[in-house]
């Protein structure tokens, strides 16, 4: 994963709340077995409307998506993050994120920046008044700057550190492999295992 310190680019305002991951990418696009090529699927249903914000010429090439509250709720599909990345977004701003979406974002280099709702309104106002204005998201300072407006954002320390360092989660965990092996050594014998395959007892359910 590439290290991220700041992102500068234009922003697109998405004035909708409760944008669930089914809206970000409908299930019919989840059949692919690759991690890329999902840009056409992003907000597929909404993009059929020529007036949808991402279809408007002034918001082409945006790197920052500014959305209403409860962005990324619902299904765990990481394809939602892949689709946002493939489309060109490096940052999503919202006042509240779905927990699984937020976790997925941090693992794919998408900054999920949590901004107070009043500040989201102010960012929308500036960007809509002057589409194409440069927005800078500074992960070191945890700020979003556009024109003379600067607002703070929240992101948890651990995710921020991994994004800044571009660290791979699995590699980090495997540094603790001895602790995992130790934990496994006293796992109770009656805890479930999937192998070997066992058949149900005759007296049990079907």
């Amino acid at each position: 994963m590439e290290k991220i310190t700041t992102v500068t680019g234009t922003a697109a305002p998405l004035r909708r709340s409760n944008v669930d991951t089914d809206q970000i990418i409908p299930a019919v696009f989840l059949k692919r077995v690759t991690k890329t090529g999902f840009d056409d699927a992003l907000f597929y249903a909404w993009r059929q409307d020529p007036e949808f914000v991402l279809n408007r010429p002034e918001y082409q090439g945006a790197k920052v998506l500014i959305a209403g509250p409860d962005f990324g709720t619902g299904s765990s599909r990481e394809h939602a993050v892949w689709a946002l990345r493939d489309f060109g977004f490096d940052v999503v701003i919202s006042s509240r994120f779905g927990d699984i979406f937020r976790g997925n974002s941090g693992k794919q280099g998408l900054v999920a920046a949590q901004v107070a709702y009043e500040d989201v309104e102010r960012l929308w106002a500036v960007v809509e008044a002057e589409p194409g204005i440069a927005v800078t998201v500074d992960l070191v300072e945890r700020t979003v700057t556009v024109g003379s407006l600067r607002v703070p954002f929240d992101i948890d320390d651990y995710t921020r550190w991994r994004l800044l360092e571009g660290l791979d989660d699995i590699g980090l965990t495997l540094r603790d492999e001895a602790a995992i092996t130790e934990f496994e050594s006293h796992r109770e014998a009656w805890r479930p295992t999937t192998l070997p395959i066992r058949e149900p007892a005759e007296s049990g359910s079907l």
């Binding site: 980090l172 995992i180 007892a201």
Partner: protein, 486 residues
């Protein structure tokens, strides 16, 4: 002082919740300075949609699956529910299923494929095999993994990167959750079910109300539920924003588990029960938040909008967005009514449906099918309404057929299908046409969820059945007033 009494003293000093106990029992390494804890995963469920890229990642890094014996895969999201003995017509679906089969073979993972008697929706398969047990940690690349919390397990959905992480390490780095008690006291009236409880909970706390929390469902109404009912409730925890929902294990849990293929047996059973008995939340333990629901007054529930929090009692009318104080909720309601083609003030019971879907990981277990059958038995469905019954697993299908339920459904005019996720999310051919309206026992009424342009009303199996008879949103109570029920 002996060791046992020392433990007792510690328990009294630190009363803990069910969720804290399960978390602490799985701590591999405690986080420091804001880093997450490393949590051990007892059971990893895998399906075809969220796993291909994870296996690819392992291959690229040259990593094996650490514990194939704690991993199990099945095919559910993409699978057809008709003609399952023929090649899957949709090429991309077939590719995804074949990819899972190749990956399972390569990495030594147990897989139950279409046609196998253990195939089915991943959240139905785990419990019915006895793999889902109290006090364990369960993950799956599917947000409805919360279902397994019904057993007192800590179970939650993960993204594909986390799937790869668990395959490689059998652990996950996680920040501790906050805890929320959902107290449901009283007794449900006949015709009111677990589904109505959870729809009422989500309407009360909202789709974001549970974010960052593990929900613990408590109270006399929860204790009175069967395991199938508890699974329905925990399943939809994610629709309130919570990654996990739990119910403390009790005699109902043990009775469900005993004798199942992978449940402990003999001396192991006794040791397990002894441990399970320690899991319930201690008296005096503090929750970070509490919610109270009165079971006595609950009515059959239905959603009118496009998120699961937009629900009301079926006896009410479509709400007027103008009366909603919160500006986001008002805007969301306006959009939702436009999408759903509903006018404020319309009695919900006047709303006609085109389809009824009886299935999904929320409501496709044997008791759900029995409940649906109890209402439709000996009747004919309303003209022009398409009714589809999709069992949660191949075993549920066999069990239903052994009881003659399939005959009840087909005599009623319903389609009796093979197991899978089906029209809950329309990844296979089971989809609504644009503009079609469906009473669905599934979990999400999002725009386009059941097919592009489709309109979904979330309901219980009993409401689905009464709706299929009358052709308009209805509960069993409406049948009684018409003298239509025995």
């Amino acid at each position: 002082m002996n060791a046992a009494s020392t433990n007792t003293v510690e328990t009294i000093e630190h009363p803990r919740t069910l969720a804290e106990k399960v978390w602490n029992a799985h701590l591999v390494a405690e986080g420091e300075d804001g880093t997450p804890d490393l949590i051990y995963i007892d059971l990893h469920l895998v399906h075809e949609v969220t796993s291909p890229q994870a296996f690819d990642g392992l291959r690229l890094a040259g990593r094996p699956v650490r514990r194939p014996d704690l991993t199990i895969a099945t095919e559910d999201h993409n699978t057809p529910t008709l003609d399952i003995d023929k090649p899957i017509a949709d090429l991309t679906s077939r590719t995804q299923i074949e990819t899972l089969r190749r990956n399972a073979a390569e990495f030594g993972i147990r897989l139950h494929s279409l046609g196998d008697k253990e195939q089915g929706i991943v959240h139905v398969v785990g419990p019915q095999l006895g793999l889902t047990q109290p006090g364990i940690t369960v993950v799956c690349g599917d947000s409805h993994t919360s279902t397994h919390g019904a057993f007192g397990a800590m179970a939650f959905g993960i993204g594909t990167s986390e799937v790869e992480h668990v395959l490689a390490t059998q652990t996950l780095p996680l920040k501790a959750f906050k805890t929320m008690a959902i107290n449901v006291e009283g007794a449900l009236r006949p015709g009111v079910t677990a589904k109505d409880i959870i729809l009422a909970v989500i309407a009360k706390i909202g789709t974001g109300g549970g974010q960052g929390y593990v929900l613990e469902y408590r109270g006399s109404a929860i204790r009175a539920l069967s395991m199938d009912g508890r699974m329905t409730i925990c399943n939809m925890s994610i629709e309130a924003g919570a990654r996990a929902g739990m119910v403390a294990p009790d005699a109902t849990t043990y009775a469900y588990l005993k004798g199942r293929a992978h449940a402990p047996a003999g001396a192991d059973w006794d040791a397990a029960v002894e441990y399970w008995e320690t899991l319930a939340t201690d008296e005096g333990a503090q929750f970070d938040a509490e919610v109270f629901i009165d079971a006595d007054t609950l009515e059959p529930f239905v959603t009118w909008g496009t998120n699961p929090g937009q629900g009301v009692s079926l006896s009410e009318t479509v709400p007027d967005p103008a009366t909603i104080a919160d500006q986001h909720e008002r805007a969301a309601a306006e959009r939702a009514l436009e999408y759903m083609a509903l006018e404020p003030g319309t009695p919900l019971k006047d709303v006609k449906v085109d389809a009824v879907f009886m299935g999904s990981c929320t409501n496709s277990r044997i008791e759900d099918l029995r409940a649906f059958a109890s209402i439709v038995k000996g009747k004919r469905k309303a003209d022009g309404v398409r009714v589809m019954v999709v069992p949660g697993s191949a075993r549920v299908r066999l069990e239903a057929e052994a009881e003659g339920l399939d005959k009840v459904f087909t005599d009623f005019g319903a389609e009796w299908r093979f197991a899978g996720c089906s029209m809950c999310l329309g990844m296979n051919p089971d989809q609504l046409a644009p503009g079609e309206r469906c009473a669905s026992t599934s979990n999400r009424n999002f725009e386009g969820r059941q097919g592009k342009g489709g309109r979904t009303h979330l309901v219980s199996p009993l409401v689905a059945a009464a709706t299929a008879i009358r052709g308009t949103l209805s509960s069993p109570w409406d049948l009684q007033t018409e003298g239509e029920v025995h």
